[in-house]
């Protein structure tokens, strides 16, 4: 690891942890379906940054880039499916409130 990569490693880790916290907080606290998806997106952003950082530090940029491209394709499909489900739920409930989702008690 080069000296520059070493000095950068910890600040990046710090901000990745912060992104994870923001995403999880959003996911846990919100009552809105779309906002839950946004929280999920933030989590995926954090993971993407983590992967790229690992690739940079280990000098495996090419491998990591191909992984991240695949990851982005997966992410888009999941979000599109989730958006479709949210639209369907909105048609039934006329709201985006998670608290309306109490028909099924887990």
């Amino acid at each position: 690891m080069s000296a520059q990569a070493l000095t950068l490693f910890w600040p990046f880790c710090l901000f990745i942890v912060i992104l994870f916290i923001i995403g999880f907080y959003c996911l846990l606290v919100t009552f809105n379906l779309i906002r839950a998806l946004i929280g999920l997106e933030l989590l995926i952003k954090a993971v993407t940054l983590l992967l790229v950082l690992v690739g940079y530090v280990t000098r495996h940029e090419a491998l990591i880039q191909s992984l991240v491209i695949t990851l982005i394709v997966m992410e888009v499909v999941i979000i599109a499916v989730a958006a479709g489900i949210v639209l369907g739920l909105h048609q039934h409930n006329k709201s985006l409130d998670v608290r309306q989702l109490r028909n099924l008690k887990g």
Partner: protein, 165 residues
């Protein structure tokens, strides 16, 4: 030293826009905040020697996904006025812990400043991500094709009647 500063500034901006995404009241602004976070991530990816993936991130995540979010938000009804007022109070109660939590985490982690003495694997020989993807990871490409087909099925099934009504 200059390079380090730019990275830290972009990281900070990214965290700020993520925070704004979560804290803002309007869903639309939230979606825009997500696009902004994604754009900051693009800059970071570029600086971390991942230019090709950065292009994907910019076009797909801050482009396509934002479009999906904004379409979903505009297809779903906005709330009535009094509900919005109630909602604002609600939100403030639930969300004001977050900045405090973040600042605390930031302080703790920056004082911790772990020094990893990482012993790293040998650097790779192949330097072109396109060649890696096509020659070494054909299975991932196959998986991508299958995933896109799944997405096509999902969109046809889930969105079709939504348009009719």
């Amino acid at each position: 030293m200059l390079a380090l500063n730019i990275d830290i500034v972009v990281l900070f901006l990214m965290a700020l826009s993520a925070l704004w995404t979560v804290m803002t009241r309007s869903l639309l602004r939230s979606a825009i905040g997500l696009a902004l976070t994604s754009a900051m991530l693009t800059i970071l990816m570029f600086r971390l020697h991942a230019p090709l993936a950065a292009v994907f991130e910019l076009s797909v995540c801050s482009g396509l996904i934002s479009v999906v979010f904004i379409a979903t938000i505009s297809l779903t009804q906005p709330m009535s006025q009094e509900k919005v007022l109630q909602h604002m109070k609600d939100r403030l109660e639930r969300f004001w812990y977050l900045p405090i939590l973040l600042i605390l985490t930031g302080i703790v982690l920056s004082f911790l400043n772990l020094k990893f003495n990482l012993i790293l694997p040998a650097p790779e020989i192949e330097k072109d991500p396109r060649i890696v993807l096509w020659n070494q990871r054909p299975l991932d490409l196959l998986g991508q094709i299958i995933m896109l087909l799944t997405g096509a099925f999902g969109i046809v099934i889930l969105f079709r009647e939504a348009k009719k009504k």
